[in-house]
């Protein structure tokens, strides 16, 4: 486990309740490698946000631990940048000041000039060089989220946590910002852990998608490797022969199996299954399997037991 850049080990969260305690999720094991983009998908109430808060150090798990870069996560840190769903910009500061807020916290010894230049570089990356001096209230939702993303990237965290960053945006804006996120990510190669509800978004962005069963007693049931070639593009990715194989697999999981699996016995639950939908039995059921080439073989190197999943 420890050879992953980030490893989440045996994580569980229990809320005390009258009668029996409420176990939101239990025995979550996740490994994230450096430079990897991992998305996590699950229904509401499976504890995704709690996992993210534990990773951020904002919440403490009931059991288990998170180790990043050889050190246990015990509180919030600048090493882990967070982009919240509701942007969390400070409304009394301008866009530029909001990013500079992060930069100053990261490098307190920097001169004002350097902080400003660095902040502006990242605001330019997200296409906001014309709105540096606007307050968040003067910006649209999409622009606010861009500022928030710029702030997170500007502090160069070792791990970037995105909590449904595009959840509150309309579809068109969402697409544009996804493109921007891909652009920045391919320039910086941040390690990213992202929560999303959007299957297409996850396929577009992720190297790997973690699928969670429904809570309570939620689990990470599968780790789906996305082998679609990069750079990916929103417009052309759907033409990839494997796109719908992966998509169908994910949707099938979310619609049917996330519920079924939430009831399986303790013994079966503990292992996350590594899946590449473009390989194995379920791929055979799809036309697109004809075009699967050997270079699409899953190279996921988690230590978890590799099984073929029959769907």
């Amino acid at each position: 486990m420890s050879r992953h850049f980030v490893s989440v080990e045996g994580l569980s969260k229990t809320f005390p309740a009258a009668g029996e305690d409420l176990v939101v999720f239990e025995d979550i094991n996740i490994g994230i490698d450096k430079g990897e983009f991992v998305c996590i998908i699950g229904h509401s109430g499976c504890g995704k946000s709690t996992i993210m808060n534990v990773l951020a150090g904002l919440d403490a798990p009931s059991n288990g631990s998170v180790i990043m870069d050889g050190k246990e996560v015990s509180g919030p840190s600048l090493d882990r940048g967070v982009v919240f769903q509701n942007y969390s910009l400070l409304p009394w500061l301008t866009a530029s000041q909001n990013v500079a807020f992060g930069v100053k916290a990261r490098w307190p010894q920097w001169s004002k000039q350097k902080v400003l230049e660095h902040s502006h570089t990242f605001l330019e990356m997200v296409g906001l060089s014309h709105s540096l001096d606007k307050k968040p209230s003067q910006l649209s939702g999409g622009m606010r989220q861009r500022v928030s993303i710029a702030r997170a990237f500007a502090t160069s965290p070792k791990l970037l946590l995105l909590d449904e960053p595009f959840g509150a945006l309309d579809a068109l804006t969402r697409g544009i910002i996804q493109d921007e996120l891909i652009k920045i990510w391919s320039e910086t190669h941040q390690t990213v852990f992202m929560i999303t509800h959007d299957v297409d978004e996850a396929i577009l962005l992720a190297d790997r998608i973690l699928l969670m069963t429904n809570g309570p007693h939620a689990q990470v049931a599968e780790s789906v490797t996305i082998n679609l070639p990069r750079p990916r593009n929103r417009a052309t990715i759907i033409n990839d022969p494997n796109y719908y194989t992966i998509r169908n697999h994910l949707v099938h999981f979310l619609v049917n199996r996330s519920e079924e699996l939430s009831g399986v016995s303790q013994a079966d639950k503990t292992a996350t299954q590594v899946v590449d939908p473009t390989q194995g039995p379920d791929a055979g059921s799809s036309e697109s399997s004809q075009s699967v080439s050997t270079d699409n073989v899953a190279t996921d190197d988690t230590e978890m037991p590799l099984k073929n999943v029959a769907l």
Binding site: S77, V82, A105, T155
Partner: protein, 276 residues
């Protein structure tokens, strides 16, 4: 449209003012002297056998003469309106800023710590509804100085709105913003100054605005009690002199200064206001 609304409202205000003053003027005319005055009437200064409220023309004439020399000082009982107001303002601002110095940090502590909130809340709830003037005898006894007792009364009446609003503002800072501070590893001091203070500033300023209003209300009553100087003393002194035009004039001045104080605080509040 807006300018025409402004124009029309200004016009209406003027009409109301003129009508109001007109009615007041007409109702308070001295009766016509019917025939020659008797020797007694001449000695008494006229035919009126009954004191009446001076009409606005008399008040305005008096106001003009007072305002054209506001800072004259002709002894303890005869000082210009400017001097009297300056004394009152000095007391109000001293007590008010002393209260801010205590209330804002204490409000911060109460707002940040549920323990302190629960521990101090009973005291606040009992002390807050006490009329500030009720403290006066105790203040006079302990402080042994009427001037400082008045300042103390201002202090004690301005502290509550500021304290409660600061605590409320600090306690209700959006948790997202606190999380931003946490994920950026800000120290508690930096979090307080860079995140919580600006976030709570509009609420704190609302408390400060309520406080200055209350302080200005209370100073008049306090000065009526302690005497010597100040606008409250001036009102009472002119009542004792049976100079009603001075009383009405000073009432108007109290209103004008109170309005100016509120406008000043309103402008400061605008500076720290933010839109979410």
């Amino acid at each position: 449209m807006l300018s025409s609304l402004t124009m029309r409202s200004a016009l209406l205000s003027m009409v109301l003012l003129v009508v109001g003053l007109g009615i007041w003027e007409v109702l308070n005319q001295p009766p016509e002297a019917s025939g020659a005055m008797t020797e007694y009437e001449m000695l008494m200064g006229g035919v009126e056998d009954e004191a009446r409220v001076p009409p606005p023309s008399v008040v305005l004439a008096h106001a003009w003469s007072e305002l054209s020399d506001p800072f004259y000082d002709a002894g303890p009982n005869d000082k210009g309106i400017g001097i009297q107001l300056a004394y009152s303002l000095y007391r109000v601002l001293t007590g008010y800023f002393a209260a801010a110095l205590v209330a804002i940090p204490l409000g911060f502590v109460i707002g940040m710590s549920p323990l302190m909130y629960r521990a101090l809340n009973p005291f606040i709830q009992v002390l807050r509804p006490i009329s500030p003037l009720a403290w006066m005898p105790l203040a006079l006894f302990i402080i042994k100085d009427s001037e400082q007792s008045a300042v103390f009364v201002i202090f004690i009446c301005s502290i509550w709105p500021m304290l409660i609003n600061t605590a409320f503002g600090v306690a209700n800072v959006r948790s997202d913003w606190v999380r931003v501070a946490q994920t950026h590893e800000l120290s508690p001091i930096k979090t307080a100054f860079l995140v919580i203070l600006p976030a709570a500033a509009p609420t704190i300023l609302t408390g400060m605005r309520i406080s200055i209003g209350i302080a200005w209300l209370v100073i008049v009553a306090a000065e009526m009690l302690v005497g010597g100087t100040g606008i409250g003393y001036y009102v009472w002194n002119e009542w004792n002199n049976l100079d009603l035009s001075s009383v009405i004039f000073s009432i108007l001045m109290i209103g004008v200064v109170g309005m100016l104080l509120d406008i000043a605080l309103g402008m400061v509040a605008k500076l720290v206001q933010y839109e979410e």
